[in-house]
Amino acid sequence: MAHITGVAVTAFGKHAGRGPVDLMETAALAAIGDADLPREAVDGLVSGYATTYPHLMMGTVVAERLGLKPKHAHEARCGGATGAMAIVLARHLIAAGACRHVLVVGGENRLTGQSRDDAVKTLAGVGHPEHEVPLGASIPAYYALLAARYLHEAGATERDLAELAVLMRRHAATHSGAQLTKPITVDDVMASKPIAAPLKFLDCCPISDGAAAVIVSADPSPRAAIRLAGWGEAHTHQHISEMPDDLGLGAKVAARQAFETAGRKPSEIRLAGIYDSFTPTLAIFLEALGLAPAGGAGKAARDGRFGRDGALPLNLHGGLLSYGHCGVAGFLAHVVEVVRQMRGEAGDRQVRDPALAYLHADGGVLSSHVGLVLERAA
């Protein structure tokens, strides 16, 4: 059994002068405090990577900074799915009896620690070095190709996708840590500058500085038992050139495994934290997971399904699209929000009684998927 016993996330945006290890330290100490653990109780550590500080041994760097002497420490790398993957790894370390309390941490000064051009170039490198990168493709271009295909297959429109950006901005406005809080409309999204058709600027998440951390423990926290009930992974391809024809296949495979291990059904979940690097990412996942009808994610958002008082509250902190995206901590912020909601600690954002939640992240170009089912004990 594995439980989430501590969570922390910094504000996302600009943290000028602070490096990845500084940011990870802040989040890690806060999460250890949130779990009410003595520091020496943390006997495992899985850190994220940082594009602004590509160290060979980030896990050890973070352990040293924190003064930890863990039985296990390493750096995980799986793009945007890294944080979720690290939580699965923590669960496996606990199930194997190797550790009792595993710190999962990510943080990066992705916004102020490098030029925007360097960030775009680094991210474009997830493409194939011979057959994709030389063509001048970028991460937004890869997702634009997915978006165009999605719109073609699902019969949705660019305005439908824009609804998801509007929703995330509305949610971010209620969180003091969010990077982007100025309200936007569908027309604003449609009028924002073109990045890679059909994606406009406001269909894309921002680049951020920030950090987040999660403590995964063998036993539940005395104040709230949040159990990692299910987990699933899928790795269908790395490069978009080799991805399956079914845009949602990886998401479906990972989710099916996650719900099977949890012994629960998608229809039972009452809260979701879904990776939203671009509006089509979120639409493809919501529809592949059966959380919205095919082609209907944008309409469902417009109709209030994913709001605080809707049937399936989603990314109530504002998601990557508006809370922000600083790499590995980007999705960990979704985990933090879901756990705070399940504990009833989300203040004005609090949803009614979310006893079962689903989290989903992808890395690459819908390449690697991790699904997590979290369950609050009665």
């Binding site: 051009d117 063509l135 001048g136 937004p140 190709l145 978006a147 165009a148 890679a196 050139s241």
Partner: protein, 103 residues
């Protein structure tokens, strides 16, 4: 010829593009390199307005397409502007890069 080369499994006949020693379908080794005609259809297409390197930026952007070749292989190409999904195209090498144009 188009200048587009693929790999073909000598055992099951599956084609693919990326370098690998064994067939991803049947695991038979030693695929043969084959030149193909380059005919295919557009699977998806975008116009990039923000290049990964500033020196690659072009006024009005440049088009990138994923084309499903007649051999069943999806390849990324530069493309002529205005292509639509499902449109038949021919992929040829242009300045060393695969380029999709209307047939």
């Amino acid at each position: 010829m188009s200048g587009i080369a693929l790999l073909k499994c000598r055992s099951c006949g599956h084609h693919w593009q990326f370098r690998r020693a064994a067939c991803p379908v049947c695991a038979a080794i030693e695929p043969e390199a084959v030149a193909v005609a380059g005919g295919g259809t557009v699977w998806s297409v975008t116009t990039v307005h923000r290049a990964p390197l500033p020196e690659w930026d072009v006024p009005g952007g440049y088009a990138i397409a994923l084309v499903t070749l007649d051999e069943g292989v999806r390849v990324m190409c530069r493309a002529e502007s205005g292509l639509a999904i499902g449109e038949p195209v021919r992929v040829t090498l242009r300045d060393g890069l695969p380029h999709a144009a209307r047939t």
